[in-house]
Symmetry: C2
Subunit: 197 residues, 2 copies
């Protein structure tokens, strides 16, 4: 591994979803660009890693004390609890939620050794206790086994605080065909059917 | 774009095949690792870009005067001409070729403005002229329109040097089913059929 090009491929291949072949393709692309291209990426990496920590309020990642969402003016009454930063990003892109977030950084999964202490649940409870402005808590965990378990657990421990607790609707995705929807999704869509308005 | 995390996502999204969503996933992964992870990748980038140039002999990329293949002991009699470094890597992985390479860095494509001068064809001719040790030239361009055109062009201009000129066999991939093979591949496999031994 003394060849610097091999080292670069090796480092790139450590990224998730990047195999050795893709890493080689990425490395060749970077090396074909003007040197500034690679240096800018390197600079950006150096600038970010080590300076990133969790937002003191919502546990999103940030390089400051509070993340850009917590710093901006948002509706304090609604708190959306997500498993991951990527989920937060996805909801933000819809531009349909103006409340604040709380990032759990995972979902309960006893088989993987992830219990309540491994997630940012204590931080969530502290936040709910501290703020009387919070009226509704939207549990936006994934509609998966671990996401559902986490939602149930959260609903139970949040219950004593007298907040409205909601969940994202689960059902048939917009634009899809009933014919091709898996059985679980279809039965949940049927069970959660809403009145026609 | 003042947020360093956004900047990192932006820089990662410039890589080929990496969209904004994947860039975000990669950034989150890097930021979740110990800082050394990101710094190592940054270091590797800085160490490689700007120091990489073409091997003086075969036009492979290297940080030294000659690439590791040209420096190692290889069969001087066979020269394999490839379009790209990735093709060279793929052939190297088969461990079935012990000769040397020449990387063209592309294929002839007049519509994209890529003529002979844009490729390392002059370097190839200079090499063939200079070395009497070269007996056979394997043209290993892709079996595509541009690859075929490049192969035909090369065969024509190499002809005067009295070398054996060969091409990689093109046909049905090993392990595939004739039923599912596209018409072009199948007709080429039929046209290039070999005697049963």
């Amino acid at each position: 591994m003394t060849n610097p090009i091999d080292t670069l491929v090796h480092e790139l291949a450590k990224l998730p979803g990047i195999g050795e072949r893709t890493a080689m393709r990425l490395a060749i692309h970077v090396l074909r660009q003007p040197p500034e291209f690679g240096h800018r990426l390197a600079h950006s990496l150096n600038e970010t890693v080590g300076k990133v920590h969790f937002c003191e309020e919502c546990c999103n990642i940030t390089t400051e004390r509070l993340c850009h969402i917590c710093k901006s003016e948002r509706d304090e009454a609604t708190l959306c609890v997500v498993e991951d930063i990527a989920d937060l990003q996805a909801i933000e892109k819809t531009h349909c939620f103006r409340g604040k977030y709380h990032v759990l950084h995972g979902a309960l999964s006893p088989v993987d050794g992830i219990g309540p202490d491994e997630l940012k649940i204590l931080e969530l409870l502290t936040r709910i206790k501290a703020s009387s402005a919070i009226k509704e808590i939207v549990i936006a965990t994934n509609p998966s086994v671990t996401g559902d378990a986490t939602a149930l657990y959260l609903a139970k421990i949040i219950a004593p605080y007298n907040k409205i607790i909601t969940r994202l609707a689960s059902g048939i995705p917009v634009g899809s065909h009933i014919e091709f929807i898996d059985r679980n999704t279809l039965s949940r869509a049927m069970a959660s059917r809403v009145s026609f308005q």
